[in-house]
Symmetry: C2
Subunit: 233 residues, 2 copies
C-alpha cells in the first residue's frame, strides 16, 4: 500500500520544518518509496485523521504515525532488512538522547536566530499564527529576536562544539556512514538553509561545512533538491 508523508509547506514551495526533514531522510535511508503531501500551518485539518494537528505524519498502509521519533522507530522496526537508522539497541537508546539534545539545546540556540527569517517565508495567511505561537514560546517578540541576533549567533558557537569534535574523528556523527543522529542534526541546518539568506557557519567551520555538504549530497542530493538559499551549500 502507498506510503504518504505529510509535511510543512511555506511560501515559494519552501519546506523548512526540521521535524519533517528527519522523516524525509529516514524514509530515504530506508529506501521506502513514498508520496509527499505538503500542508500550510493553517491546514491542520488535513492531518486531523492522525488524532493531532502537527506534521510530520506518516501513513504506511494501515499505520498512521505522528511525531518524528515515532516515525523513525516505525521505519526501523517495519523495514528491518533495510540499512539500520540506529545501529542496534545501544544506538537507538543514545539516538534518543541526541534527539533530546537537538530539541532542547541545538534548536533552542537556533530558533531565536531563524524564527524572524522563517516569518518572512511563511505563507502570508499563516504569518499571524506563526508570530503569535513563536513569540509566546520564546518570550521575545520577533523584533527583539532580530535585534539580538549577534548575541544569539555568538551563543550558538559553543553549542556546536561536540559536533565539531566528533566530526574530526569520523565522516558522520554515526561513524563512516550516516544514521538517524546525523539526520536529527542536519535537519536543523536544512531548516536554516531553507529560510535564511546568511550562512550560520563561518568560513572557518571547515569540519561542520564538509559534513553538511556530504549530508546535502546524500540520496541523490535530496536536501539540495528543494527551494533554499544557496549561501549554505
Amino acid at each position: 500500500m502507498a506510503v504518504v508523508l505529510y509535511e510543512r509547506l511555506c511560501a515559494d514551495d519552501r519546506r523548512p520544518s526540521p521535524f519533517c526533514w528527519r522523516a524525509r531522510l529516514a524514509l530515504a535511508h530506508k529506501n521506502v518509496t513514498h508520496e509527499i503531501r505538503a500542508i500550510r500551518f493553517g491546514e491542520a485539518e488535513k492531518v486531523a485523521f492522525s488524532g493531532q494537528a502537527k506534521v510530520p505524519v506518516l501513513v504506511d498502509g494501515q499505520s498512521v504515525v505522528h511525531d518524528s521519533w515515532a516515525i523513525a522507530c516505525h521505519l526501523e522496526d517495519t523495514y528491518p532488512d533495510a540499512p539500520s537508522l540506529f545501529g542496534g539497541a545501544g544506538g537507538r537508546a543514545l539516538t534518543r538522547l541526541v534527539n533530546h539534545w537537538v530539541d532542547h539545546s541545538l534548536e533552542r540556540a537556533l530558533a531565536p536566530i531563524l524564527i524572524p527569517y522563517l516569518l518572512a517565508v511563511a505563507c502570508p495567511e499563516d504569518r499571524a499564527y506563526y508570530r503569535q505561537t513563536r513569540e509566546a514560546k520564546f518570550g521575545l517578540t520577533i523584533e527583539q529576536m532580530t535585534t539580538r541576533r549577534a548575541v544569539f549567533l555568538e551563543a550558538l558557537l559553543p553549542v556546536l562544539e561536540p559536533l565539531r569534535q566528533r566530526l574530526t574523528e569520523t565522516s558522520f556523527l554515526c561513524g563512516e556512514r550516516p544514521g538517524y543522529a546525523d539526520y536529527l542534526v542536519f535537519a536543523d541546518f536544512q531548516w536554516a538553509r531553507s529560510v535564511c539568506d546568511r550562512d550560520l557557519l563561518g568560513p572557518e567551520e571547515k569540519v561542520l561545512r564538509a559534513w553538511r555538504s556530504c549530508m546535502l549530497d546524500l540520496f541523490g542530493g535530496l536536501a539540495r533538491s528543494v527551494n533554499a538559499f544557496e549561501t549554505a551549500a
Copy 2:
C-alpha cells in the same frame, strides 16, 4: 596478569576526577578485577611510563592505555564476553558523541562551579599548580568563579534538559541498563559530590536525583564507597 588503574588522589583520600571515575565504572561494568593506585597532581612521574602525565592510566597485562575513551574502548574490545559498554557499533559511535558533549558542554558548565570547591580539597602541596592551570583554562580567577556562582548554577539548568527528558523515558540514559554514556555523565556528578558541600540538584530535580541514586547503588555501592559529601546522596 594484574590490572592496575592509576587515578587522582586529593586530600582526605578524596577521588574527585571524573575521567578516573569513567574508568573505574567501566572496569566494574566489565567485572575486571583491578588494583587502584592513586597519585597526587604533583606525582606525574609515577605515570611517566605511559608516555604522558595525566590520569587515568590503565595497565592491563602488556597494555598501557591512557585517556578515558581509549580505556573504555580497550575494555570493550578486550573483554567482549562481559556486558557491553556501548551496545554495538551504533552505540559506540554515539557514546563518543555523548563523550564530547560531556567534555565540552556539561563539564564547561560544571567546572566554574566546582573548581573553587576542588581547590579546597586538593592536597596542600598541589594547590598552587591547580589554581594556576584552572584559572588559565577558564580565564577567571578562583575568586571570580566563586563570586559568579549563582550565575553558573542558573546556566547549568538548561544544559541538563536533554538528560531530564531522556530519564523520563527509561531508567538509564542507555535504556533499562546502564552503559558507558551513563558513566560519562554520572562521573561529573560524582566529581561534584566528591568536592562540594552543596547539592547541585535542587529537590525538584526528581528524575535526575533518582537516576543519580541508582548510579550510586551500582556495583555494590562503588561510588558511595569513597569519601564524599553526603549532601548529594
